[in-house]
Symmetry: C2
DNA sequence: ATGAAAGCGCTAACAA
DNA sequence: TTGTTAGCGCTTTCAT
């Protein structure tokens, strides 16, 4: 293994000069720097991560906690993670993969052992048991998702309220007057996160603002439940012409149900969804949708951490604006 | 930060005694050990990862390289990774997440900087450009997947040849005599990995062994292509009653195509697939299938690495036996 | 602008 | 069975 003293000898300078030449933490003459860099290249020098971490108390490692439990959208999680890795690498950091399985313990462990300099936590619940620890920890962290109380934390996510609003506004712009939200399973509205409720808020508020009539229907993630909801909607709100779906698992069954009930999309019914583009784009009738900007969230989460590591102030909350992709499932309301 | 000397002082022993008491690398009297453990708990001591790595030249970190490119099944990759993390933790190791994006460079980097003790490489191609590096590296590695030449490497994967055979044998046992394999897109058979070819080998060999007539049809991953293949099969092999599908992207369209062509599954046609259970189980007609045992692969990959790190010999190749889950899509051939 | 030298916290000879 | 001590390779003060 080639070490810094080898480089120093080869370049005819002292080890500290090599260190400074590489870190740029103090001025080095152009000539010396060139010699050092040549030696580094020639010898293939790589600083030993452990030694560097020990001496500088910076591991240059970020930890990311991914969820495992049911109901989690795996590709979405993976996209967060991959985006985080890519961004971290651009900032000369690596990413340690943790699962939630070990619980808070693992957060404490990587922090206390100085394995990681900072933490990214996904799958945040409203009253997440990890919050006290995250607030107390001496290392910076960023949450992907919003707990009930963000005080003392740094959180980032899609602005789900704005997403709910945007869907309604799109429908309003197309002349729709009666809209319904088909949401997540009832239990999601209590446990897990606030995002489902935020969608409802945005949806309801925007509908009211536009003088539209609106209803909300939680729905289990089964085709049968989707069918029942479709029937109920039709029965209870015959004037309904616009639907927002926030439940990706039943988007397809729902569309099938509408078809079987004789409702054409978008002829009779305009449908928008909150779901991955991949899903929305590949349905028989491609669906107008808003996706979670996973890549951007992952990237910005890392950038927030970097700023915190530098001691710079960061906003407590970052809400990313939703972007709606118009596809074939929404159309102007046919009046008459 | 509480360090080993703090613990030593608190327990009234020397630092090395604390170290040995925790590592078990030399005998410690029960009494001393108890005192040390009490102090560790009381003070909340955690060894500094960097210091430990520097002194012992073991980082207790494994690196895993995940693929990003198109055509990759994200949930499958994620399952490998999560299983690897879980198993690594059980062996007191952590996992560093790398993306293939950086190429070989990142393998060299984590090895040279001693960030990771060992490597897990996924998405292995037949003539993977990383192979020379992996062979030359001073750190152990395990490949998930098989390149053309496994000499000097350690590889693990599902036994795809046996999987192809198992599908045919299942169909043979149900009385089918004419079978077809609907495979991956043509380009998969050249680039990427050997697994697609192995399935074909197993399929063909088993069919021959049972005196069955068999054909193979590569197929693009589009619904249109699926449709065309279904039509061709029907036209060219009217006696066909058994199908093996090794192309998860088109499994559903294919089943639809069969239905539209008037073929009932399993009444007229028995269908088996190589795909995730999740997919197979949730189709309109649940499909008899063989899944990649992702959890087992991930776990065993880590265990292989652990053995290599201990200096123990490990098999060059580990082929996991396929397990076929019988569902509604296969039935006894109706004769007459 | 550069060098010398003192640690960073831990492990593992070497001693006793 | 336990203690003493010399590093591991790097960063960073202090000195020049």
């Amino acid at each position: 293994m080639v070490k810094i003293t080898d480089v120093a000898r080869h370049a005819g300078v002292s080890p500290s000069t090599v260190s400074y030449a590489l870190s740029g933490k103090r001025p080095i003459s152009a000539e010396t720097r060139a010699r050092v860099e040549a030696s580094v290249r020639e010898l293939g020098y790589r600083p030993h991560a452990g030694a560097r971490a020990l001496a500088s108390s910076k591991s240059h490692v970020l930890a990311i906690v991914v969820p495992l439990r049911a109901g989690i959208n795996v590709p979405v999680v993976m996209q967060f993670a991959v985006s985080a890795v890519t961004t971290a690498r651009a900032h000369d950091h690596d990413v340690l993969l943790l699962t939630r399985e070990e619980g808070e313990e693992c957060l404490r462990r990587v922090a206390d052992t100085a394995l990681a300099d900072a933490l990214i936590v996904m799958d945040v619940q409203l009253h997440d048991p990890r919050l006290p620890l995250l607030r107390a920890l001496d290392r910076p962290s960023v949450l992907i998702g919003f707990p009930a109380d963000t005080e003392g934390l740094t959180c980032i996510d899609l602005d789900f309220k704005a997403a709910g609003e945007l869907c309604v506004e799109h429908l309003a712009g197309l002349g729709h007057r009666v809209v319904g939200l088909i949401g997540s399973p009832p239990e999601v509205y209590v446990r897990q996160t606030a995002f489902a409720q935020r969608v409802v808020q945005g949806f309801t508020a925007a509908a009211a603002r536009h003088g539209m009539s609106s209803t909300v229907h939680p729905c289990e993630a089964t085709p049968a439940a989707a069918h029942k909801v479709a029937e109920r909607l039709l029965r209870e709100q015959p004037a309904l012409t616009g639907v927002v779906v926030h439940n990706e698992a039943i988007l397809e069954p729902l569309l099938e149900a509408f078809e079987q009930l004789g409702l054409r999309v978008p002829g009779d019914l305009s449908v928008t969804a909150l779901c991955p583009d991949e899903l929305a784009a590949n349905l028989p009738v491609p669906v107008t949708s808003i996706a979670i900007p996973t890549t951007e969230v992952g990237e910005r989460a890392v950038r927030l951490l970097m700023r915190k590591l530098e001691g710079a102030p960061v906003p407590q909350s970052t809400l990313l604006p939703p972007r709606l992709t118009v596809r074939a499932s929404t159309a102007r309301r046919v009046t008459g």
